[in-house]
Symmetry: C2
């Protein structure tokens, strides 16, 4: 994803050591070739969240296609004696031949939603555990936070600016996930190059400080970037900077950005000043430590756009989703599929291959997440199937443009009961119903 | 860093859009070539933390060396009309020619510690802002959490297992940062390949569930991985699994792993059982949702090692550090260096090039973080200079083996007042003193 030199194209070592050692033991015992179903799912939503958003599907499909052990990976595993020669030989030919179904990107999820179902031999699926979980856990955490922000922002655009506050590769994935959940743009150039997320940006405080005066700085910026640019107005005195900005750029000044202080109060003051100066179309962008609560708090302020940084890339308090990847069924020696689950007092796993439906009222409002084993009972027409084919016989079939995921997210979110939009802590807005 | 196909070796687009637009405007105004000092620093520690740990230095130096605009990057910027042709021409020749000083990796930090000081033209430094902050903010957050965990664990090893709960590239960097802060190993194979962090792992619940019985699974694992392996004993019944494990592997069984339940109670029970079975050297590893508080709570339990996942990779509640990268001084037209700072009511910046010392008592205990502008006053012998050369005239000079950072971290942590080890919320253990 990111780009430190020497990076291999392979995703095969984004893997936990134990996956390869248990592969070795299972190859030796012969059990490795048993047909198996693995499921990627959440046991719960983050505390207080009313819904979650699936993201990372497209990235996971890319990672699955690139999961190959080339010379560099094999030499490393051999030199470090991670696994034995028969296992290395098997890995050298590794290719996923199985089937994957999943919730499509941008879809809403709830506790126990079977977000991904993988059918293959045990060996072919088990090695994918870490990289699939990494991608889903990260990207869905970001999208889940982003969705609350864009819902709070209403028609006003949200711009992702958090790259500097997270790992440089996570930053690119965060921009992508935020876009899926309704953000309109990112500050991150790599996200634009790699995923086509629109990018935006003009200048920082350092640009103003570099010049001998704010006048010099604004003149330089407008001369180079045009009158439609966004001037950062809080380096010295905001009122003076706004006056100066309109003096330099005229009423065609695109926008001013406020990055500190009481944003609600300042937005009102700046809007009055801009209007007094005749700059009625000059927009006001605010960008200081925003999260979904701050965005909601600014709903009545004359703000035209929100730049969101830290709280987006840390998932607004929930930086990971806690998805797990569990073996739920596998063949026995007679070829019969057997549901399996860990016995545990504090963790619930339900064995078997799943289906999943969103139960909708006649008015199209979500009423329940219906999860069952095997095939669904008769569909009364108001249940929307949630699992779609992602990989068929090893070939990726579930790729789609990012805009399709964006559109899906809005549709699925609009189906939720009104209470889903409340930012206060609450239970999942619909229950997960386990059908047997 | 990670390895999705099509990844470029260049780090140049791990950059915010606005850095290139302000570069364009500054190139046009001529101010881009003013000699400048930028500083990377924290305004505070995360709430309640008593110290922080610097990590990511080595990765930042790698990123700086790879910050080059090749054909792919330039074509993208041109096609998307991000910047104009003169700026593209300047970027095509981009190479950092300046000097960088910084806190070496593993060092402790406090509010306003000048973690990195960059001297170059404005243009050469400003474009590095995002990628440097991404690396420092992420890696230092992980190392700061990891240090509390390893301190709580005392002599017992901590193993990093969080890859699945964070972005796949962040996972590799997290393993590295945790190692800097005293972890002994990681589950992540890429971290071993790329950075030489020792890796470890044996099997998951799915391995036991794959087989027709726990007996079959344990026999398969011991046959393939040897008697010294670690058996996971909580898939069904722990006491039965421990009995079975010793039956299969004998008293040479390397370790058992417990991944659920009341770990303190279970560790005592399992230790008694192992001792009764004569397996006195079989170790007990615990791995369920641990953080520094849970580790400390298990101090009196017969535990031989801690596997830490989620809470390590999310920084145990503080997934980012909030470091900023600010222009603190730059030349004027006469070539005089001028300290600069944003005027702001809620953020303090102090202009000028910094020095930094850790003031030590005659007994070698840290007493203050001394930060000043220019050159330090006379050093009385008990002040330890903190800034070391990282880059000189564009050449990286600060690279070191990861083990040097590990050793430094332990030394610097041992200098702190005893109260630093307390996990409860508190103020920074030493004050930052600004000398003028």
């Amino acid at each position: 994803m990111t780009s430190t030199p020497g990076a291999a194209a392979s995703t095969a070592l984004l893997t936990d050591h134990y996956e390869l050692t248990m592969l070795q033991a299972a190859l030796a015992s012969g059990a490795a070739h048993r047909r198996s179903f693995f499921e990627l799912f959440p046991r719960r939503l983050p505390a207080g969240r009313r819904y979650g958003v699936v993201a990372g599907v497209g990235r996971a499909l890319d990672a699955l296609e690139s999961f190959r052990f080339g010379e560099a990976e094999l030499a490393f595993l051999r030199e470090e004696r991670i696994v034995d020669e028969p296992t290395l030989a098997w890995l050298a030919d590794y290719r996923f031949h199985g089937n994957v179904w999943g919730y499509p990107e941008g879809e809403i999820y709830f506790p126990y939603s079977p977000l991904m179902v993988v059918e293959s031999t045990f060996a072919e699926a088990v090695v994918l555990e870490t990289v699939l979980l990494s991608i889903y856990n990260h990207d869905s955490a970001i999208a889940s936070a982003a969705s609350r922000m864009t819902w709070a922002a209403g028609e006003r655009p949200c711009i992702e600016m958090g790259a500097r506050r997270t790992h440089e590769g996570a930053a690119v994935a965060s921009a992508r996930a935020a876009y899926v959940a309704g953000f309109t743009a990112t500050s991150n150039l790599r996200a634009r190059q790699k995923y086509g997320v629109p990018s935006t940006g003009t200048s920082a405080h350092s640009f103003t400080l570099l010049h001998d005066s704010e006048t010099d700085a604004f003149r330089a910026q407008v001369a180079s970037l045009g009158r439609g640019t966004t001037l950062l107005v809080d380096t010295y005195d905001i009122a003076e900077a706004v006056r100066l900005g309109v003096e330099v750029a005229g009423s065609e000044l695109g926008a001013v950005r406020i990055d500190s202080g009481d944003l609600g109060v300042l937005a009102h003051e700046v809007r009055h000043q801009l209007d007094d100066l005749g700059a009625h179309d000059t927009r006001i962008i605010v960008t200081s430590d925003l999260d979904e609560f701050a965005i909601a708090g600014l709903a009545s302020a004359p703000v035209d756009g929100y730049g969101v940084g830290t709280q987006l890339v840390v998932g607004s308090g929930h930086p990971t989703c806690g998805f797990v990847f569990k073996l739920v069924a596998r063949e026995d020696d007679r070829g019969t599929l057997v549901g399996v689950a860990k016995k545990s007092t504090d963790k619930i796993s339900i064995g078997g291959r799943k289906y999943a439906l969103r139960r909708l009222s006649p008015q199209g409002v979500a009423e329940a997440e219906v999860v069952g084993i095997g095939s669904p009972a008769v569909n009364d027409g108001d249940d929307r199937p949630l699992l779609t084919p992602l990989v068929r016989d090893g070939e990726v079939v579930g790729r789609e443009p990012l805009k399709a995921a964006r559109a899906r997210h809005l549709r699925s979110r609009d189906e939720l009961p009104q209470v889903a939009r409340q930012l206060s802590k609450g239970d999942p807005v619909i229950e997960t119903v386990h059908e047997r």
